[in-house]
Symmetry: C2
Amino acid sequence: MSTASATAAPRAGRPREFNLDAALDRAIVLFSERGYHAASISDLTEAMGVAAGSLYKAFKDKKAIFLASFDRYKQVRMELLEAEIAQGRTGRDKLHRTVAFYAQAAQGEMGRRGCLVIGTASELAINDPDAAERVCRSHARSEARLVELLREGQADGSIRTHIEPLVTAKTLLCLMHGMRVMGKTGLDPGQADKMVGAAMKLLD
Amino acid sequence: MSTASATAAPRAGRPREFNLDAALDRAIVLFSERGYHAASISDLTEAMGVAAGSLYKAFKDKKAIFLASFDRYKQVRMELLEAEIAQGRTGRDKLHRTVAFYAQAAQGEMGRRGCLVIGTASELAINDPDAAERVCRSHARSEARLVELLREGQADGSIRTHIEPLVTAKTLLCLMHGMRVMGKTGLDPGQADKMVGAAMKLLD
DNA sequence: CCTATTCGGAAATGGTCGTTCCCAAATAGG
DNA sequence: CCTATTTGGGAACGACCATTTCCGAATAGG
């Protein structure tokens, strides 16, 4: 139903020979590593394994490819995070897993590749309303989830009630985004794990 | 002595009619708002008030303009931050001022403009060694300053001795960079100030 | 004052960009 | 089986990019 889910059967015509989501996954890597402007259509056709003509039949223009990549990136990462959160017992545990999830992503190859949300915020937010809106919605959802987990922790007794969920959620979100920024130039895995522990002080 | 300090008197020839630092200040705004690739030479000549030919007499190429802008940005911001830190009494106070300095920068017009270091990390770090090195050095210096202030606080009794300066410094730096990321899409001033308070929990 | 040197600025250049066009190939419906 | 429709893919397109060139103007040294 969304941009890249189960392909609604076409009424007629030659069927598409490439998988849209698989192609977008490769576009995500390219856009994450180089940013929007430095990733040319040539680069995209090569990385996605799709000729320019075919690309423009699947997407209106380059920006549409980017926005579809962004949406898929968000969807995939969100599902992974929620699977991780689901394994947590208490609100505090779930928050710990959330921070650790970002710390993990900030390391190694994925860390150097960078977060597409942050890249979009940096490169496009100020000039492109469509990109800005998606970044805002991403931030809002992340913040809302953190607030929810904080309240859950306060309800189950794993987090004291005197902390302010909204401010703490915003602070945690900043910390997690900052880890992704640092990951672009390499983050020491050992230190990253310790930072997760330090971050949990915000819940005291 | 550096890229854009006191202009060493030229031996002969027509003197430069524009001020290098003032022109770089305008380039900084452009690069911060649009990023490296989206800021064209046309944009730069217009913003800097210098024709293309003259620009290429002052700088080897576009990347040199960018790196000079980056260096000046770092210098200016660093001086402002150190002036702010100098007003602090204790180590804890100085750290509070440091976090507040970033929180302030993340708000309003400057927040939407973004941090050139973070923009460079996002857009160029993975593909351009020169840019990556500067980002790394910037992070290292920021971290070193935080470690220094933490140790100062531990020495003057404003910060307890059981915290680990290195991990705490890294965590604070992530938090401050995260605030700048959030500032690209707008950060509520009231909440930003509260986040500074929340961040200080990392020192307990 | 004359010459070497540098700057200012507009025009020119080659390359690459995003996008479109075109035609052969592949499907669905009648 | 024929037609309408869609895709694949390469060639073609105009626009804009970073950079260079060129020439008049402005300075310093001799």
